[in-house]
């Protein structure tokens, strides 16, 4: 167990090298995932053709496929990976709870009920799914925060309020699906989460959140580190604990809501990617946040490629692939570290 040896008493420099190594490996995985996602699919396209299509005007036969389908889809997938992984990493720190993820603060159930409502009741207004889901996600996050507020915020109250509100909203989703069982297919796909037919407009929606949210998350890294020392210590070191907690939760909510409203309720990334990253680079958020973001890109792009190729010509939602492969891998990491 290489990381264990290094963490348990050898030099700081070795640990720095180890972190750098992990980041390099994650980056290679992410780049590999992006390349595979661009090249593999119903039509196999060589890397050379892709580069030619992106950087020159030569209208080759595969140019349409790349520009209109593969490239935007891959980029949306990458950004979704970043957003959900960052949101999960932040929430696990803020709540000091290993099970905290975008579900916990109501993002998923809020987006879910809003999105499914549109899909089922107003199937001709599908373009409204993304904005309404975003509003639903943020509304339920704010609602949970208000419910949990009692002269300040205690993480355990948020988590309990989140569980209750999510159960309430999810029952609404179930009710819709029961009443309109003839229309649930699209809604079901969206509940699982998928990148099918995601294109440039979706990228435009999510990109600003990734940029702003990513920067704010990195600026908050030291605050997250302090919060992990416990409220009393953090306050004693001069951190405004309440303000930091609200601010970082808000950043996580924006990151997750923008991702979920675009691709549906991709559950797995926000929970397990940050844990996997933490097991490998440690709990210092200055390293954990970038590592989670990069690993998020790798996991989503690789899974989406597999989702397209594995049962070709049938495409399955990426959410299924991700949980199916990721969960056992995560259990392996967990066992190995214990």
């Amino acid at each position: 167990m290489l990381n264990k040896q290094i963490f348990s008493g050898r030099g700081l420099r070795e640990r720095g090298n180890w972190r750098a190594l992990v980041l390099v490996v994650f980056t290679l995985l992410a780049v590999g995932g992006i390349i595979l996602s661009l090249t593999k699919g119903a039509l196999s396209i060589s890397l050379h053709e892709i580069i030619a299509a992106i950087f020159s005007d030569n209208a080759g036969p595969s140019r349409q496929v790349i520009w209109n389908i593969r490239l935007p889809r891959t980029l949306v997938g990458a950004l979704v990976g970043i957003n959900l992984a960052l949101a999960g990493a932040i929430l696990q720190g803020v709540m000091k709870n290993p099970l905290a993820d975008p579900h916990i603060i109501g993002i998923s159930s809020g987006a879910g009920l809003a999105g499914v409502t549109i899909m089922v009741l107003f199937p001709h207004q599908e373009y409204l799914v993304t904005p309404i889901a975003f509003v639903g996600a943020m509304a339920s996050a704010v609602f949970i925060y208000i419910l949990a507020w009692k002269g300040g915020i205690r993480p355990v109250r948020i988590i309990l309020a989140g569980v209750a509100v999510s159960a309430f909203l999810n029952s609404g989703i179930s009710a819709l699906m029961v009443f309109y069982s003839d229309r649930v297919h699209g809604a079901l796909m969206w509940m699982v989460g998928g990148l099918s037919a995601r294109s440039w407009p979706h990228l435009d929606i999510i990109l600003p959140y990734t940029v702003v949210g990513g920067i704010l998350a990195l600026l908050g890294a030291r605050r997250l580190n302090l919060l992990n020392l416990g409220d009393d210590i953090a306050r004693g070191l001069g951190l405004n604990v309440e303000v930091s907690r609200i601010a970082m939760t808000a950043v996580a909510a924006l990151l997750a809501a923008s991702a979920v409203s675009v691709v549906g309720l991709l559950g797995f990334v926000g929970l397990i990617v940050p844990h996997a990253a933490r097991l490998l680079v440690g709990s210092d958020y200055r390293y954990l946040l970038p590592a989670s973001a990069i690993l998020g890109v790798a996991v989503v792009t690789l899974s989406d490629t597999l989702a397209r190729v594995a049962f070709s010509p049938i495409e399955i939602p990426v959410g299924i692939i991700m949980a199916f492969i990721g969960a056992p891998f995560f259990l392996y990491l967990l066992r190995r570290d214990a």
Partner: protein, 266 residues
Amino acid sequence: MSIMQTENLELAFDGKAVLKKLTIPVEKGQIISILGPNGSGKSTLLKALSGNLKPDKGSVYLDGRNLAQLSAKVIARKMAVLPQSPEAPKDLTVRDLVEYGRYPHQSWWQGKSQEDDQCVDWALVQTGLLDMSSRIVSTLSGGERQRVWIAMALAQKPEILLLDEPTTYLDISHQLEIMELLAEFNQEHNITVVMVLHDINHAAKYSDCVVILHQGEVCAIGKPEDVITSHTLRTVFGVESEIMMDNGGRPVVMITGLTKRRGQIK
């Protein structure tokens, strides 16, 4: 001159008064110990002094300024706080943890300065941890871990150090080691120490001033030899005791038994 002062400090939980009109001066450069039975309000008083709990009535003054009106960072540059049995993330090294002590002196746009590194080194040397600085905190023994937390507090370069039962869970030699360390910082660097203690003899041996709390009120305050008496121990703790004086003129307490049987104490 008082570096800290509480004035008519009142604090209640769920309508039940825990601190009742406490007015306690903390003199600069002294070691002040807070003693009292369980539930007497010791920890609550310390949390009010640190700003972790807001008083319901009355105020806490730090250098003559109302604590409630100072920002957390300004407070943290003057005062370091060590709660009872703090816990660090599992993979932090000693140096990582001590570096957090510099947080109140850093701004978010700049990284570590040379001064930060010097302060961390100094804190590690003072606590005898320099050789262990790349060890993982969670693998250390209880006494070593407590020294790491104290080193973190020292790296803050505070004028006041607040500690809540710094010797709990330690064996007797490590308890003394922590007490000696605190006495040394107090003498050599003029750091004012305010701490909650359980051990009356430790308080008697190391403190300049002892505050005895009883049901949220100050039962006695002053020099150990004036305050720690058989009479006080009987009324506050419900124990019988014999008190001797050591060579330095400080009281040494030998508890001889309960005043009444447990069930009868009111």
